[in-house]
């Protein structure tokens, strides 16, 4: 399996028109709902906020990786949003966020080892500055996918 199997063009939005974290998370969660990754937006967001409360998910350089285990996740997936302007977020470098990568992972992941493994290699890519610099420049979902699968 390859990382491209968890990158879904339908859950990538490169023109997020949002003012804050809540709007961004909600819009990305809606994408996950529409594409059958989660069963409930509010329930899912509750679990995401539980992780947000435990520590900063803004990893610096305008990137945030909200995530958490949620019983409302049907299928492991990722929603990616790029905003037009920096939005406020709790970050390690105190700067705002432009690229939001929302991980959807279930509570019970039996039989999902291969997908979890993909997610971990995907997370690893986000630690690479060359990758994140290119992602921040991506203008459409196709180019986001291209950067992540190259």
């Amino acid at each position: 399996m390859d990382v491209k199997e968890i990158i879904d063009i339908n859950t990538i939005k490169t023109d997020l028109d949002v003012e804050n974290k809540d709007e961004a998370l909600r819009e990305l969660a809606e994408l996950l709902l529409e594409n059958n990754y989660i069963t409930d937006v509010d329930g899912f967001l509750n679990d995401i906020y539980a992780r947000e409360a435990a520590g900063k998910t803004g990893i610096g350089n305008h990137i945030a990786i909200p995530h958490g285990n949620s019983e409302f996740v049907k299928k492991i997936g990722v929603a990616i949003g790029i905003t037009r302007k920096d939005i406020p977020w709790e970050t390690l470098d105190g700067r705002g966020v432009k690229l939001i990568i929302l991980f959807a992972v279930g509570k019970n992941n039996d039989g999902a080892q291969s997908h979890l493994k993909l997610l971990s290699s995907f997370a690893r890519k986000l630690g690479n500055e060359e990758v994140t610099a290119k992602l921040l420049q991506a203008e459409n979902p196709e180019s986001v996918k291209a950067v992540l699968t190259s």
Binding site: R51, N69, L92, L116, A123
Partner: protein, 105 residues
């Protein structure tokens, strides 16, 4: 020098691996041999060998939860930080490791 690391975070799907990538790049850039074990939701990967641990000049534990098998590092010089430190300032962390190892010499 030779460095071994373990990364582990609370949920075990994101910070563990971002920290791994950042530490690996920072360590290699500074010219060190670096091995990183990840302890995440999928379990332990790149498990450190006894030889890697024995040969290491220093151990970096970048973890927000207790590291499983910590006793493997008994008697070694250990830097313990949260994953945030490794994600935010990997180069500084490697530099600190260098300083500690040089002081011991």
């Amino acid at each position: 020098m030779k460095i071994v690391c373990v990364t582990a975070c609370t949920v075990g799907i994101a910070h563990t691996y971002i920290a791994q990538e950042k530490l690996e790049n920072a360590g290699k850039k500074a010219g060190h041999e670096i091995h990183i074990e990840t302890q995440g939701t999928i379990g332990i990967e790149n498990e450190l060998t006894q030889q890697q641990i024995d040969e290491a000049d220093i151990v970096i534990l970048a973890a927000d939860v207790s590291v499983s098998g910590r006793e493997r590092f008994n008697g070694k010089t250990i830097i313990q930080v949260g994953t945030e430190v490794a994600v935010k300032s990997p180069n500084k962390l490697i530099k600190k490791a260098e300083e500690i190892v040089n002081q011991k010499k």
